[in-house]
């Protein structure tokens, strides 16, 4: 199955700093999503981005499918950005079914 690797595993920031989270994957994909898991366990959709670039407020994401990586940018970080960030994807060739998750990046933003 597809292998997903996220980096860094942990990230500690001061409020106001910028950060870049990376997701590498081993095969072609036809679905790639970024999620933020809050301290209560809720997975919040950030982006559906199998290719290209999207922006939503202070967050943006870029996926370069041909080079098999995706990046999540967080600008002017806030304490509420703390939590675990996951990328998840579905291997190409299937139009439904499982998302394979990475191990996550634990982000801590200090005031």
């Amino acid at each position: 199955g597809i292998q997903v690797e996220q980096s860094p595993p942990d990230l500690i920031l001061q409020e106001g700093a910028n950060s870049t989270l990376r997701c590498n994957f081993s095969d072609s994909v036809n679905n790639l999503q970024w999620f933020h898991q809050n301290p209560w366990g809720q997975l919040i959709n950030l982006f559906y981005i199998p290719s290209g670039t999207k922006q939503n407020g202070r967050l943006s994401a870029t996926t370069v499918a041909t080079e098999r990586y995706s990046l999540l940018y967080i600008s002017s970080s806030q304490t509420t950005d703390s939590g675990v960030y996951f990328c998840a994807m579905r291997a190409g060739g299937t139009s439904y079914g499982k998302l394979t998750f990475g191990q996550g990046t634990i982000l801590t933003v200090h005031p």
Partner: protein, 110 residues
Amino acid sequence: DAGVTQSPTHLIKTRGQQVTLRCSPKSGHDTVSWYQQALGQGPQFIFQYYEEEERQRGNFPDRFSGHQFPNYSSELNVNALLLGDSALYLCASSFGETQYFGPGTRLLVL
């Protein structure tokens, strides 16, 4: 528009018991997937239901079974509980590509 809902929020069981978890998808969503998330790990795919049938299954034993009802809601059943089944169980619904997750059920097996 209500999002994905799950019940119960927390559950404590003992080894060998059976458990049923429930999920109601977002309005208009016809596909339900279940995931297990152990502490410190990413969610792992259990199975997906579409049109009341199991459409795809992950690497989980037959003790894990499910059902989808005509209104698209779904149940996850786990028999003969093991200590290792303690986890956060997440339900996701979709209509098309994007999967939306519920708040999860935290299961503790003693």
